[in-house]
């Protein structure tokens, strides 16, 4: 519902990628944008998550779990307590999850969505579409 309400100015889905690993975020941005379906903003300093999300207004956030400043759990909490950002769906991306646990690399547990690193472009976009489709 929210997704449909949010406007896609250029017809692209806005994706915010929060990860302390800048080469990873760079690659995600490159790959997702090269599909022509996404507009990607990256953030390597997790404590700025709320601020950036508020400005960028992403349709979905890809959030790393293990980060030095504020970890994925803290960031998700912050986002979900702010009116402006609390409706944005989050997919956690973690190297701590094994491929087996995440099955095909993407899975749901306790109402949360997870992606296991390393993740392919195909899996990434598939997961994004799947989550957005349920809204």
């Amino acid at each position: 519902m929210l997704h449909s309400k949010k406007s896609k100015e250029d017809g692209k889905t806005r994706v915010l990628v929060i990860d302390d690993e800048d080469r990873f975020t760079k690659m995600v941005k490159l790959n997702l944008e090269s599909t022509g379906m996404y507009s990607v903003e990256v953030l390597n300093e997790s404590r700025k998550a709320v601020e950036v999300a508020r400005d960028f207004k992403p349709h979905i956030i890809l959030l790393d779990v293990v980060m030095p400043e504020a970890d994925g759990g803290d960031v998700a909490n912050s986002l979900r307590t702010r009116t402006a950002t609390k409706e944005i769906p989050i997919i956690f991306v973690s190297a701590m999850i094994s491929q087996k646990e995440s099955h095909s690399g993407f899975y749901e547990s306790g109402g949360e969505h997870f992606l296991a690193k390393p993740v392919s472009t195909e899996t990434l976009s598939g997961a994004i579409e799947e989550v957005l489709a349920t809204l």
């Binding site: 690993e21 080469r23 990873f24 690659m27 995600v28 490159l30 790959n31 090269s34 599909t35 293990v66 190297a95 701590m96 094994s98 491929q99 087996k100 646990e101 099955h103 690193k117 390393p118 993740v119 392919s120 472009t121 195909e122």
Partner: protein
């Protein structure tokens, strides 16, 4: 009497010495003697007492004829001197008349006979002389015997006594009187009742009366004498009837020896012997003693039992050969003889003996030489202890220690693995991020190339390399992830089929024919589907890599009951499964190269791989086993019998509530 010294002179002819101041007397007497009995006498004149004194009388004559007519004083001196000798030589005085003889009254007892010289009756002289000589000898012998008896009575330490018919002492020796605290004379006329308590006096009296009645002696009776003052002593007493000249019993006589000291020693010995016997018979060891010839001379009760007899008499004097088979007897006998010969004992020699019921009994035997008081070896003493229990305990202990050591090794191994797991988790995380950068980079490049086959190939190679690295890292992470299973009752056949479908391309590529042989209606097993998938994927991948040129993969499933803990059931299995419990078993058999013998022990070790570097992580089987064990199951991997290939067998327990398919 043999103890009487006999006259050194022959009896004939009679040698006579004439002590006379008148030489004419010699001729006169000689003539007289010759006329009575010619040649029977030799008469020699001795002129003075001094001359007589110079002679060895008993070798010189049988009798002295002393002429007392000449001078009284000289004659008196001669009589006294001869009498004092108390020899066997008879003294006959030649006197004028009886009055003359009477003047020698004080010494008359020293004179054996007299002859009235002036009126010598014909034929009487020789007889008188002969009688005098005989009397002299008899008296001499009597005196001698009296001396012996007195000597005996006075010096012997044994008590000697004579009693009359009423058991009153008539004579006692000095030792006896002294032992009673009396002198010899004061005891005479008294009875035992005066000297001892009635406790001793009465039976002694009764004994003596019986001897008097029956004439039967009592020989060597050991009796206790308790004196009136309370002190007592032990005596060895012999009592015999006392008979007079005519053989009539006139009393008793006895001799008793104080054996108090001996008795004390004997009592002590008896007591010590009793003590020793008690110890020997109650000690928990077998004890035996043998002589130089190997004959038993002592055996305690336990050793009797060991030999299978009840009475020591059945053993004493027998040898080993009477109790043991020849071979065994010979061994022990030689051992004994060695000890006797060398004097060197055998200490704590361990021996075993198999009993008829098959139980092996262990002994610790020591044998030492038996040395007598002169230091000579006269046999052996043996002591043997049953140490079966200790021996069995030792064995148990050894086994326990072995198990403990193995457990310790396993614990160390487990601890190592834990460390590896923790490291792996960290490493995996650190490696995955850069890997993802590379893989996403490749994705991007992939989307950008167009038309260049060469570039496409390179990128494809890179992609595969990254995928490979990712797989390794994922397995590492799986290995280190917490060992928890989300198990639900499942049909294991369904899992196998799913995996086979998933991997059908792999089998086709490797030219492997799959032959499933899955039993119908298998009981359900509590399984974590994802983890069990991984088990079969790993096993199938291993099979594929073992069958390089293609082959057959046979998968058989069936259920079975744990029958017994027999010899063909491994220890691990008996620990995991109870008899009667149902197991679902899956056998994965390939026709590949099998397991190399050097690999057999390490198959399940983490990071052990037979695949060439880059071919495998070495974690597959380790993870597989971990997963199987998480399900309370077991996995074995071994070569097939008689044909090339390996067979992995999985055992999963069927929980009681999951016997039937849902």
């Amino acid at each position: 009497m043999s103890s009487t010294p006999s006259n050194p002179l022959p009896e004939h002819p009679r040698k006579l010495l004439l002590l006379s101041a008148d030489p004419a007397e010699e001729a006169l007497l000689s003539r007289h003697l010759d006329s009575e009995n010619h040649g029977e006498h030799e008469l020699k004149l001795v002129a003075s007492l001094d001359e007589l004194k110079s002679l060895e009388l008993e070798t010189s004559c049988h009798a002295i004829l002393l002429d007392i007519r000449a001078g009284h004083d000289e004659a008196l001196e001669s009589i006294k001197w001869i009498g004092r000798l108390q020899s066997q030589v008879a003294l006959i005085c030649l006197c004028a008349n009886h009055e003359q003889l009477n003047s020698f009254k004080p010494v008359i007892h020293l004179i054996d006979d007299y002859i009235l010289a002036d009126t010598l009756p014909h034929g009487e002289l020789c007889i008188r002389i002969s009688h005098a000589i005989r009397r002299r000898i008899q008296e001499y012998e009597l005196l001698h015997e009296q001396d012996l008896l007195r000597s005996l009575m006075e010096n012997i330490p044994d008590a000697i006594y004579f009693k009359d018919l009423e058991s009153r002492f008539t004579k006692v020796n000095r030792a006896m009187a002294r032992s009673y605290g009396h002198n010899v004379d004061s005891v005479i006329g008294r009875s035992d009742f005066d000297l001892f308590t009635e406790e001793h006096a009465l039976p002694a009296y009764q004994d003596e009366q019986r001897i008097i009645e029956t004439g039967q002696p009592i020989i060597s009776k050991i009796e206790k004498e308790t004196f009136a003052d309370g002190h007592s002593k032990w005596v060895n007493s012999t009592k015999v009837p006392l008979r007079n000249h005519y053989g009539r019993i006139i009393g008793t006589m006895g001799i008793s020896r104080d054996i108090s000291d001996l008795k004390r020693v004997q009592d002590k010995l008896t007591e010590e012997h009793r003590l020793l016997t008690t110890i020997l018979n109650n000690i928990p060891d077998r004890i035996f003693v043998k002589d130089r010839e190997g004959r038993y001379i002592a055996s305690n009760r336990l050793h009797l039992k060991f030999l299978g007899v009840t009475d020591e008499a059945q053993v004493l004097g027998t040898t080993l050969y009477d109790h043991f088979p020849k071979e065994r007897a010979e061994k022990y006998f030689n051992q004994d003889m060695d000890i006797i010969r060398t004097g060197i004992g055998l200490i704590n020699s361990e021996e075993s003996r198999t009993m008829p019921n098959g139980r092996v009994i262990w002994y610790l035997t020591s044998k030492v030489p038996l040395i007598d008081e002169t230091g000579k070896c006269v046999g052996i003493v043996g002591i043997s202890r049953d140490v079966t229990t200790q021996k069995e305990d030792e064995d148990k202990l050894r086994k326990t220690i072995k198990v403990l050591n193995e457990t310790q090794l396993q614990l160390i191994e487990a601890e190592k693995l834990k460390t590896v797991g923790r490291l792996a988790a960290g490493v995996a995380h650190e490696v995955k991020n850069p890997l993802n950068v590379v893989s996403l980079g490749i994705d991007y490049l992939c989307s950008k190339i167009d038309g260049s086959d060469e570039l496409a190939d390179i990128i494809q190679d890179m992609k595969q390399a990254v995928e490979k690295a990712t797989r390794v890292i994922s397995q590492l992470l799986d290995y280190s992830s917490p060992h928890e299973v989300a198990a639900d009752p499942r049909d294991i056949n369904a899992i196998i089929r799913d995996v086979l479908v998933m991997m059908r391309h792999n089998f086709n590529e490797a030219h492997i024919r799959v032959e499933p042989d899955l039993a119908e209606n298998l009981p359900l097993v509590a399984l974590d589907t994802q983890k069990t998938d991984q088990v079969f994927i790993n096993l199938f991948l291993n099979a594929i890599s073992a069958m390089k040129g293609g082959g057959v993969l046979h998968i058989r499933s069936y259920s079975q009951r744990m029958k017994s803990t027999g010899a063909n059931v491994s220890g691990e299995m008996t620990e995991l499964f109870k008899v009667g419990e149902t197991m679902v078993t899956v056998e994965v058999t390939d026709t590949g190269h099998g397991i190399a013998s050097e690999a057999a022990d390490k198959l399940f070790d983490p990071f052990y791989s037979t695949k060439s570097t880059g071919g495998g992580t070495g974690l597959g089987l380790s993870v597989t086993r971990s997963i199987v064990e998480m399900h309370r199951g077991m996995i074995t991997l071994e070569n097939r019998k008689n044909t090339p290939g390996a067979c992995a067998t999985l055992y999963f327990p069927v929980s009681p509530d999951t016997h039937a398919p849902l």
